[in-house]
């Protein structure tokens, strides 16, 4: 019998070697059994059985190359030619066996009784049919496996693409607000305007770098966040009060770039910016249980944080964490009391599982 694996569609069979081994072993084993049975009935030579099996091998091999030429079509398309072969091949094989006995072994031609001929014929049909069944189902299983592999591959490709798209960038809204402030500051306070340009360029450089690297240290990210906050401070003035509560031991911890930035931006946009009197924004970070824990706490309410724009930034950040760390990471947004909202991120210290 033959076993074969096929790598879907038009591609050549990947398991060609397995096919040849299975073909030789299957027919060989069947031949040996037949020879032993024949010897019990008084046969002396192995030749007739060998010829019969040899033609079986050739015939089925032809069937395989036929299927290959037809680009491994579906079972329904191959079933008719295969069935025809199963019905025809045994007559050729039986005739060749009889011919071999007479011509090569110089045995007397003795006409076998009709029922015996018929029995031999059906035995052949059975053997070739079983071959066809095993062959076709193996092809089908291979195709299915290949399709599954392809689906998995596509899912991975999609995930990588999605992951790239999720990398957060600076909001255009923020940039234009910065430029508006800057325009006024040039007249009002030239030195602060200069500082603002420097901070903004530092922040832009960081966001460009963030597109190329997978993780950054908390120290680097904090630097960018402080640039960002100093720019927002120009806009919001005394309405924005920032506090940092960073455990020095956590500064070396790795996190996806722009993650903390996204949380802080969210806190400003949906919290501070919506309060006429503004409020506090606190960034806290520490490492515990080999996880980096980040808290961004701001004045505001949860309804403020989720109304209108459905916190796309936060959703993206959450999805990014899921793609990078699976269930090891988490990102939650909750109200501490009716005037304070906290975003909490937990990021595993171990290396992330996806590479881009």
């Amino acid at each position: 019998m033959a076993a074969n694996t096929v790598a879907g569609g038009a591609s050549a069979p990947a398991g060609a070697k397995i096919y040849y081994v299975a073909q030789v072993c299957g027919w060989g084993l069947y031949g040996i059994v037949q020879y032993l049975l024949a010897r019990n009935r008084g046969a002396t030579s192995v030749l007739p059985v060998a010829v019969w099996c040899g033609i079986g091998i050739l015939g089925t091999h032809f069937l395989r190359s036929y299927a290959s030429r037809r680009r491994w079509q579906t079972i329904s398309q191959l079933i008719l030619p295969f069935a025809a072969a199963a019905l025809l091949m045994p007559t050729v094989m039986d005739a060749a066996r009889a011919g071999a006995s007479v011509l090569l072994l110089r045995e007397h031609f003795t006409a076998e009784p009709g029922w015996l001929l018929l029995a031999h014929y059906f035995q052949g049909v059975l053997v070739v049919s079983i071959w066809c069944a095993v062959f076709l189902s193996t092809v089908e299983a291979g195709k299915r496996r290949a399709a599954e592999m392809e689906a998995l591959r596509l899912a991975l490709v999609a995930q990588v693409a999605q992951f790239r798209a999720l990398r957060s960038q600076l909001q255009p809204h923020f940039l234009f607000n910065c430029l508006t402030s800057l325009l006024e500051l040039i007249d009002e306070d030239k030195d602060r305007a200069k500082q603002m340009v420097v901070r903004l360029s530092e922040l832009l450089r960081y966001t460009l770098r963030a597109e190329r690297v997978e993780t950054v240290s908390l120290k680097e990210e904090l630097g960018a966040v402080q640039d960002y906050l100093s720019l927002e401070k120009v806009r919001f003035e005394e309405r924005l009060q920032v506090r940092l509560d960073i455990d020095p031991a956590s500064l070396g911890a790795q996190l996806p770039p722009m993650l903390l930035q996204t949380l802080v931006e969210n806190a400003v946009k949906h919290g501070i910016a919506r309060l006429p009197a503004g409020g506090d924004l606190t960034i806290a970070a520490r490492v515990s249980n080999r996880d980096l824990q980040i808290h961004v706490t701001n004045a505001g309410t949860l309804s403020m944080a989720t109304e209108e724009s459905p916190t796309v930034g936060l959703e993206n950040a959450r999805e990014r964490l899921r793609l990078m760390y699976g269930h090891g990471a988490s990102l939650t947004l909750a109200a501490l009391d009716d005037r304070t909202v906290r975003a909490a991120a937990v990021i595993p210290a171990h290396a992330p599982g996806i590479s881009t």
Binding site: T180, V234, R235, P276
Partner: protein, 240 residues
């Protein structure tokens, strides 16, 4: 032209004030940093035009407009907000993107000037809070309009709400018909029945019915039935 600047950012306000300096026809009468401040400033200064930032703490610019009994000319300002810009465009509202350029500001002011000139409606005698522009801000789901009262053909009570018919639109606003009636010019609008107010300028024809009742056909094809008592008043008003 009296202008009010509404923006929560001080620098944005002074930047706008600065570009307005070259427009001598514009007098900036005040600034407001929040919806609340804006509300009292509008009532106090009665500006002809307000520059209104959409995203503001304590309620958006739209929320503010909904609370106004009389809406001045509004020029929205936004830094970059795709949603806001789309809303302005589909609703044909005037807006400026920040930082504001001198050219675009000049164009917006020219439009405001024109709008002020064409709405020189005679002031009704009763006390009015706004500058007499007689506009309403109307929001219905994701659509909104700044509609001039004289463009409203028919107002219909629906419980505590009122449906305003103007153009091809008929949005609902959360104000009772009676509350709206209080500030309408009786020379222009007429209470046809308990649940309808019609614009006298939009009457196409009148049909007399039995028992002295009247049926009014309006320019938008809608009909209003007028009771005998009100029909007498309408006849007197239109003097026929």
């Amino acid at each position: 032209m009296k202008a009010l600047i509404v923006d929560d950012e001080r620098l944005a306000r002074s930047a706008l004030r600065r570009v307005l300096q070259s427009h001598k026809e514009v007098e900036v009468v005040g600034e407001a940093a929040s919806s609340e401040e804006a509300l009292s400033a509008i009532r106090r200064f009665l500006p002809d035009v307000i520059f209104l930032d959409v995203e503001m703490p304590g309620g958006s610019g739209f929320d503010l407009l909904e609370r106004l009994e009389d809406v001045p000319i509004v020029i929205f300002t936004t830094a970059y907000d795709e949603h806001a810009v789309r809303a302005f465009e589909i609703n044909a509202l005037d807006y400026l993107v920040k930082p504001v350029t001198a050219e675009r500001l000049a164009a917006a002011l020219a439009r405001a000037e024109k709008a002020l000139a064409t709405t020189a409606v005679p002031q009704p005698p009763n006390a009015r809070t706004g500058a007499g522009l007689e506009q309403l801000f109307v929001r219905d789901r994701d659509r909104c309009w700044i509609v001039r009262l004289c463009d409203i053909v028919l107002m219909e009570a629906e419980g505590n709400y009122t449906r305003l018919h103007f153009g091809t639109n008929a949005p609902l606003i959360y104000r009772s018909l009676s509350a709206i009636e209080e500030r309408l010019d009786p020379a222009s609008f007429f209470r046809a029945s308990r649940y309808q107010i019609i614009n006298l300028r939009c009457i196409e024809n009148l049909e007399s019915e039995a028992e002295g009742r009247l049926v009014v056909r309006l320019t938008n094809g809608r009909r209003a039935e007028i009771s005998r008592r009100q029909a007498r008043r309408l006849r007197a008003l239109l003097s026929f």
